[in-house]
């Protein structure tokens, strides 16, 4: 008989489960302002460390510090705050609308608002995002009409997607927002293809890929990095690490790699980690990566470290798999509160003004919802037609669909 120790399977488990008390003291988080900002034409080999750190701008006091600070004017930051507040109000209303049966399904952004809202401000019109279902901030910050988002969510007669798609699977070409797929990951490599096309046509436009932490395990993630690395595509590849993939903690997808950003190292692609709850940091890192792409220096991989405060979707109840208090213990705080504190500290914002802004934002969202509901909701009022179901499978309807 073999006397050597026997093999056994390692199955990673989160440190806490329902009933346990989260302990965030073990999470190592660098102080704001401490991570250097390399030139955009840096040799990727020189900055491998950035894949294991976290770029942060807002310190505990709400001060913007360090080499990544200063990419936005005060007005721009104030606008950014309003985008995040709008997205949060929008989510709140839509979650309720789903409960009221006005739609079948909804997915919210709670806690992750900074990522897509701030990123959008680093892009130009004409650039193209290939988003997942948790980047509606790209639309809100890009000025896409909320009422059109709601029309899609309600699958009503004014739904720009004619009732064909699951709620929140928006498509908004003119706003640089590629049609969301329900299949995870597929869009990541398509983003690389779009960027390659722009390079082939000697254009200026760049593209942006988005993927969740859990979805990095999908094959499309690999293909995206292989092609982006080989053809040096002008693309920014974003991983939104919100710690969870439905009930599965990020350790299952990440394995022994330490961070998701580290995945870029194997491709010679610059890989940065950023505090995803820090609007200013996200914007600064986005700007850096966008400039790299725009200057034909190639792709960048960014891991946005954030936390999914809400349920995965309206079909999910996270209390079954993680402590209810986990989100409070999340060490990077809340993006809206942090940016509010920053603006107050800068003296261009106040508690009262914030309250007022909250009310204004809610009014706008409610007004949009009223307008959308005039066009119907999933089970009431105006609907897309049955014709809409048969059309658009092809440019021209073939005989077998006409029969």
């Amino acid at each position: 008989m073999d006397e050597r120790p026997r093999l056994s399977l390692n199955v990673p488990e989160p440190e806490v489960r329902p009933g346990d008390t989260p302990d965030s003291s073990r999470v190592v988080i660098p102080r704001a302002g401490t991570v250097p900002r390399p030139p955009v034409d840096v040799d990727p080999k020189e900055i491998r460390d950035l894949a294991y750190s976290i770029i942060r701008v807002l310190d505990r006091e709400g001060e913007a510090v360090g080499p990544w600070a200063g990419t936005l004017t005060d007005e721009e930051v104030a606008a950014g705050l309003r985008h995040m507040m709008t997205l949060r109000a929008f989510d709140a209303r839509m979650v309720t609308a789903q409960r009221q049966g006005k739609t079948s399904f909804y997915m919210q952004h709670m806690g992750e608002e900074a990522v897509s809202c701030a990123f959008r401000m680093a892009l130009e019109d004409g650039d193209m995002n290939f988003p997942t279902y948790r980047q509606a901030g790209l639309l809100i910050a890009g000025g896409y009409p909320m009422v059109d988002m709601m029309n899609q969510i309600f699958s009503n007669e004014a739904d720009p997607l004619k009732g064909r798609q699951l709620p929140i699977m928006y498509s908004a070409k003119d706003h640089g927002f590629f049609s969301i797929s329900g299949n995870l990951g597929t869009q990541f490599v398509q983003a690389v293809g779009w960027a390659m096309a722009s390079a082939i046509r000697n254009d200026h436009r760049i593209s942006v890929g988005w993927i969740g932490d859990g979805s990095t395990a999908e094959s499309d993630f690999h293909a995206a990095l292989v092609f982006a690395s080989t053809y040096r595509a002008p693309v920014v590849l974003n991983i939104v690490n919100n710690q969870w993939a439905i009930s599965t903690f990020q350790g299952i997808a990440r394995g022994g790699s330490g961070t998701f950003a580290a995945r870029g190292l194997g491709f010679g692609v610059p890989a940065l980690r950023v505090d995803g709850n820090d609007y200013l940091a996200v914007h600064a890192v986005a700007k850096w990566a966008v400039e790299r792409a725009r200057r034909n220096l190639g792709p960048t991989l960014i891991e946005h470290v954030t936390y999914r405060v809400g349920a995965h979707s309206t079909s999910d109840d996270p209390s079954a798999y993680r402590p209810k208090t986990e989100s409070d213990a999340w060490p990077l705080g809340d993006p809206v509160i942090r940016l509010t504190n920053h603006l107050i500290r800068c003296g261009i914002w106040s508690e009262e003004r914030h309250k007022q802004a909250e009310a204004e934002v809610m009014d706008t969202v409610i007004a949009a919802q009223k307008e959308a509901e005039r066009h119907g909701t999933l089970h009431a009022g105006g609907k897309p037609s049955v014709r809409d179901m048969f059309e658009g499978v092809y440019a021209e309807m073939p005989p077998h669909l006409r029969r």
């Binding site: 488990e13 064909r164 699951l166 999908e218 798999y321």
Partner: protein, 337 residues
């Protein structure tokens, strides 16, 4: 006899199989600690440990790929794809590898795996939570394809599938998880606890693969259906007062052709049903076989009532779904011809 929903019956099947055979392992996205988004694996990790029931990364390719390696080692993986709509990333591993391993290695390596996945529409799941991809598997030699229509069958078929020495695609009509469904989406659903097929034995039993079952004996027209469509057929026959013989195929590959031909030779008419799109759907194979084997008995063309040849829409779900109205019309047309 205990009462079980389809979900409970499926869970019970895995529980029984894991209890009897240490080689049975269960894994997939969210199936470990949480027990699956439809709760089909709830409690199995707690009972059998993390080495035998665990969460995986979101890689359908990886899930099936490692299952094949495990099967080559000697385990019997029973794995979950969260929705049938998400099986395509694993399609190569299933078609080129699992299905051909026994053949190409002349039996040195075999692939006794079960790939479970919720299938079908009716839950406003849109294009990516509603598909019925069975025909993409029935074309692949080396696979078996099973679609249960009730808790009792689901458990017996799943145990049989796990015990089977070859790869089995196990499609679970998600609209049936909590109760039978006759296509009348605007009427309340009777739970399985009120349906005779909700009586499910606790322990081990099997329902053999490759055997159809007659759900309603009749003499006027043969209806070939599986999964959810069995109940739609029943509703349509009843509403139209047509004495249909409704065959629940249960296994699509290998197919119980004898049961089919025996019935069609008796009735002389045949209607084929499925939720999947029409063109190259499994109904095409059924229609082709029926006309080939029962040509001289047929008094009317074999008709197919299926999903339309479009992606599965969200708002128009009930215009897409082949419900009792459309099925009833086909039955009536078959009788008139």
């Amino acid at each position: 006899m205990p009462r079980m929903t389809m979900i409970e019956a499926i869970r019970s099947a895995m529980d029984v199989a894991m209890g009897r055979d240490e080689a049975v392992v269960v894994f997939g996205e969210d199936v470990g600690y949480f027990g699956g988004v439809f709760r089909c694996t709830a409690g199995l990790q707690q009972k059998y440990g993390r080495s035998r029931c665990f969460d995986t990364p979101i890689s359908e390719l990886g899930i099936v790929g490692v299952a094949i390696g495990m099967a080559a080692y000697g385990l019997k993986p029973c794995i979950e794809i969260q929705f049938a709509d998400y099986v395509y990333p694993a399609y190569d591993q299933i078609v080129s590898e699992a299905a051909r391993l026994r053949y190409r290695s002349a039996g040195q390596f075999t692939c006794p795996i079960v790939i479970r996945m919720p299938t079908g529409g009716g839950i406003f799941g849109g294009q990516t939570h509603s598909q019925s991809p069975e025909a993409l598997f029935t074309h692949v030699s080396g696979l078996k394809v099973v679609v249960p229509s009730n808790p009792r069958d689901a458990k017996g078929l799943l145990i049989a599938a796990i015990e089977d020495p070859d790869p089995v695609i196990f499609l679970e009509p998600k609209r049936l998880y909590n109760g039978p469904f006759d296509g009348h989406h605007d009427r309340p659903v009777t739970p399985w606890s009120k349906h005779p097929a909700g009586e499910v034995a606790d322990g081990h039993y099997t329902v053999p693969l490759g055997k159809a079952e007659i759900r309603r004996a009749g003499s006027a027209v043969t209806v070939l259906a599986y999964g959810t469509m069995v109940y739609v057929a029943q509703a349509a026959a009843e509403e139209r007062g047509i004495d249909a013989e409704i065959i629940d195929l249960r296994t699509l590959l290998p197919l119980d052709l004898d049961a089919i031909t025996a019935s069609v030779k008796k009735t002389g008419r045949c209607v084929v049903l499925h939720e999947a799109t029409l063109t190259s759907g499994f109904g095409a194979e059924l229609a082709a076989l029926v006309q080939e084997h029962c040509f001289w008995h047929l008094e009317a063309p074999v008709q197919r009532v299926t999903g339309w040849d479009t992606p599965y829409p969200h708002a128009q779900e009930w215009d897409y779904f082949p419900g009792p109205r459309r099925v009833g019309e086909a039955l009536a047309a078959a009788m008139e011809a």
